[in-house]
């Protein structure tokens, strides 16, 4: 076997192996709907008819009663903020689930006074495993909290500037917002009950703030009554969308998207024809070489 042929074969084999590995290896990124591991949200997209959105452009033109779960770990552009505004004002329900991301940018743009404090909410007593897993035991009666007595958050934050009438869930009296991050309550640090879920009417729609997006991840979804809350969200909307465009992406994710784009291109008539021609050319190359040799001989 010639060196060139050997190089070509080993390159093709390695490339194919790499593509197969990337294509089939599931995502392990936080809050990704195709991530089946503890930190993904595949279970929600499997258990409920939730549609992942890779761009806010894909929001429905008539959003009445539809629900969008937005986890803003990346900043929204001005155009995206306008899209969110339109979605809510036309009757959509935006569930803004944030802890340490850019949720306040959305709230500011929408003119709401409520804010995510961005400080970790700790509960040294009423917790699931340790103080980073606060139990949420004060839930106001609401269709969203039906059959829900007890939620468990995971490294959550709390809400500020929320009126009691807008509050749907509060942390326990023993919880506190750890401003200096030392894990111990100090005199100037606000103590519970602190609002963690709230509802705000806006235009024809509403904005629901959840101070911990980890509530939706696979490993948290089944703890205590978290599943009931998610069920209630899904049950009170005709269509549920989960935004994926404001999550940080890894190289694996970028590569997967690239491969998907390539596949989409190959599915077009142009791509299909190009691929077939390429295969044809490769298959016929030896014949072409043979003919060339023969013509040179004569």
């Amino acid at each position: 076997m010639g060196l060139h042929r050997f190089l070509a074969i080993i390159t093709i084999v390695l490339l194919i192996a790499l593509i197969i590995a990337i294509w089939f290896f599931p995502s392990n990124e936080d809050f990704r709907v195709d991530n089946p591991f503890w930190n993904g949200i595949k279970d929600i997209s499997t258990d409920y008819p939730a549609q992942p959105l890779n761009s806010l452009d894909d929001l429905p033109p008539s959003p009445q009663e539809t629900t969008l779960i937005l986890i803003p770990y990346l900043n929204c552009t001005t155009a995206e903020l306008k899209q969110l505004d339109r979605f809510v004002s036309q009757g959509g329900r935006l569930i803004l689930a944030d802890d340490y991301g850019h949720g306040n940018q959305v709230l500011e743009h929408m003119g709401l006074e409520a804010r995510f404090t961005g400080q970790i909410l700790l509960d040294p007593l009423v917790n699931y495993i340790n103080k980073q897993f606060p139990r949420i035991i004060h839930l106001e009666p609401d269709p969203l909290t039906e059959n829900t007595n007890n939620l468990v958050f995971n490294h959550a934050t709390s809400l500020a500037n929320v009126a009691m009438s807008d509050t749907l869930a509060l942390s326990s009296s023993f919880s506190f917002s750890d401003h200096n991050g030392n894990g111990i309550w100090e005199e100037n640090e606000p103590t519970g009950p602190l609002p963690v879920i709230s509802r705000h009417e806006l235009g024809s729609g509403q904005v629901i703030l959840v101070s911990d997006p980890s509530l939706f991840i696979n490993s948290m979804e089944t703890i205590e009554d978290n599943a009931n809350l998610i069920h209630n969200i899904a049950a009170t909307t005709p269509a549920l969308y989960i935004d994926q465009s404001h999550l940080p992406s890894s190289e694996l994710h970028h590569t997967k998207r690239l491969l998907q784009q390539a596949r989409s291109f190959l599915a077009t008539p142009l791509g299909t024809a190009g691929l077939v021609i390429l295969v044809l050319m490769i298959a016929l190359t030896p014949i072409w070489h043979k003919k060339k040799e023969n013509s040179e001989e004569t």
């Binding site: 392990n28 802890d99 917790n127 495993i129 980073q132 009296s173 994710h253 599915a267 008539p269």
Partner: protein, 658 residues
Amino acid sequence: MFVNTQLTMKRLVIALFIIAMLGMISPGLSAIGQPIHVPHENPATATGSLDKPALLLSYSKTINLATNQQYQNAQDVLNELRHTDIPDELQYIIDRHNNLCQQLFTTLDNLEILLDETSALLAQNQIQGAKQRLDYAEADIQDGSSLCEDIEAATDALSDKLGVFISPAVSQITHAYTHLEESLERLRELIDDYYNLRQSLTERYVQMMEFIPTELSLSINPASVFVGDNITVSGRLSGDGKPLSGRKLVLTLSSESTTANVSIPVITTTNTGFNGSYVTSITIPYRYVDTMTLIAVYGPSGDDTDMYLASKSPPVTINTMFYRTHLEVSTPEMAHQDLPLAISGRVFTTNGNVDRTIKVLLYDTQLAEEMVAGQFTFEITLPEQTLPGKHNLNIAVTPQGRYSGAAETRSINISILPIHIDIQAPTTILLPKTIQITGMVYHEFGPVADAAVSLNLKNSSTTVRTSPDGRFTTSLEAPLDLSFIGVQEITVDIEPLEPWVTKLSVKRDALTINPVSTGLILAILIALGLFIYRRSQTRVPQGKTTPQPEIIELPAITPVPKPIYKLTGIRGRVLSAYQSGLEAVEKITGVVMTPNITVREFLKMITLPSPTATEPFTELTTIAEITLYSEYSPREDTATRAERLATTIQEVLRRGAS
């Protein structure tokens, strides 16, 4: 040497490729191994234990709430501790501590109410009931003190178990214990404050025992009356047997609260005349209850405050009359939004039928209001935004003068109406093609108009709305893609405008044939087939042909021109000698050595005319084979021998040919 170099190169290339590929994968591996940091933790691997300082601080917090007289809040906070995971060895003492705190907070809450009531009574010169309350308060203070001591003992026991007394003085747990001690101290001070307040109220009560008691009488006429009519109220106020004139009296008319409404007392005032007597008139309010109670109260004011005690008349019962209304209603158990719903029934009273107003409400939203007399039937339409499920429909007859109101609640199930679709779509599709799809959407009451019908075939989709007769016609692009022949699903999703109609999703199979892909693949297969056929044609005759003497005579075969190699060294000499011998053999036999034939194969393929040529060519072939494929390096004499053999072959064949 050449072979060795080639092998080394291949190994180097493999190593370089592995390094290059690892370099390409490595950014992805980092993502596989470690997700980007987001503040959450896998609950399956998280660990934790009871936060002891926080537990002591939580008791401090609840006791502080109690010392601020927020007893209910203190109890609520204490109840939250039920959600704490407590180790078994601490469970009993913590439960006991919590129970004692709960009892203390309840006792203190009750004590505060008793002292407030006593204070209010004494402020109105009413000593009746004050003594009893002061006695109860004394018992509560004793209970409170006792419970406080128990809590202190339980706190010490709990602190001991938590290791407070063996902890350093500057530790968190010691700090928390100090906070708790301070809170308990404030709790003791609070109980002392209550004790002092009770003492001062008792002193005030003893003073009031010296005041002149008063008496107040009350009578009504008539004793039975229709709602809306007036009654005459009269009576007399006296103190120590003497009439008290010009005193203000408060008359309170109350009725029992019903499930329908909470009764608010009607309060009116009047003054006593010169002989302490009073007469006034009261209008009976439109409250449809069987009895009402009237009471008159005298509260000393001005100079009377330090002279007379307050008095209250005995309560007088008024028999109230009205015409009771009865309502019978019939509603369907099931209904659909936007579709009329019939309500029928009968309104009647004990005094015959009169025109009455009847209202229909869905919770607090009024859906209809009608004037009816006796039997009634009317239709209502449920609001568009009513969600499917069970709802309460309230049908109420409003009160009207002497006629009482009546109300009935009916549970109604607003159901979702299932829809059906008839669809006509082609069963075979030649790609690419625009296919026509028609259909009709309907439910049991008729066609479904304006429903969104979304059709999907592979990546192609379209949406159309149904016409008023429920029909739709649309075309769908069946695009060209990678597929060849197969069954594809046409997915049809129907989303009606009305929320009370179900959504529907149906699938239809269609056989799709892609002539372009199929044709191209056929072309590839044919080309590959031809290629393989040609190669086999080239090999098979050469491998299987037995050389015949007459073939030698065929002059038509022209040897393929050989590339000219420049061979150097001993190996070069050997291979040059073989090439010379080979050329002579090819010329005489007509068999050409092609690149795919080894020297040994060539030797087997040919038949030389004489053994004198065959033997040297066989030996020359062996030497050439060793030189080409063995790691053995030929010596000088081997090269000389090869050159001699080649010369012998050339001479023998030349002679034979001539």
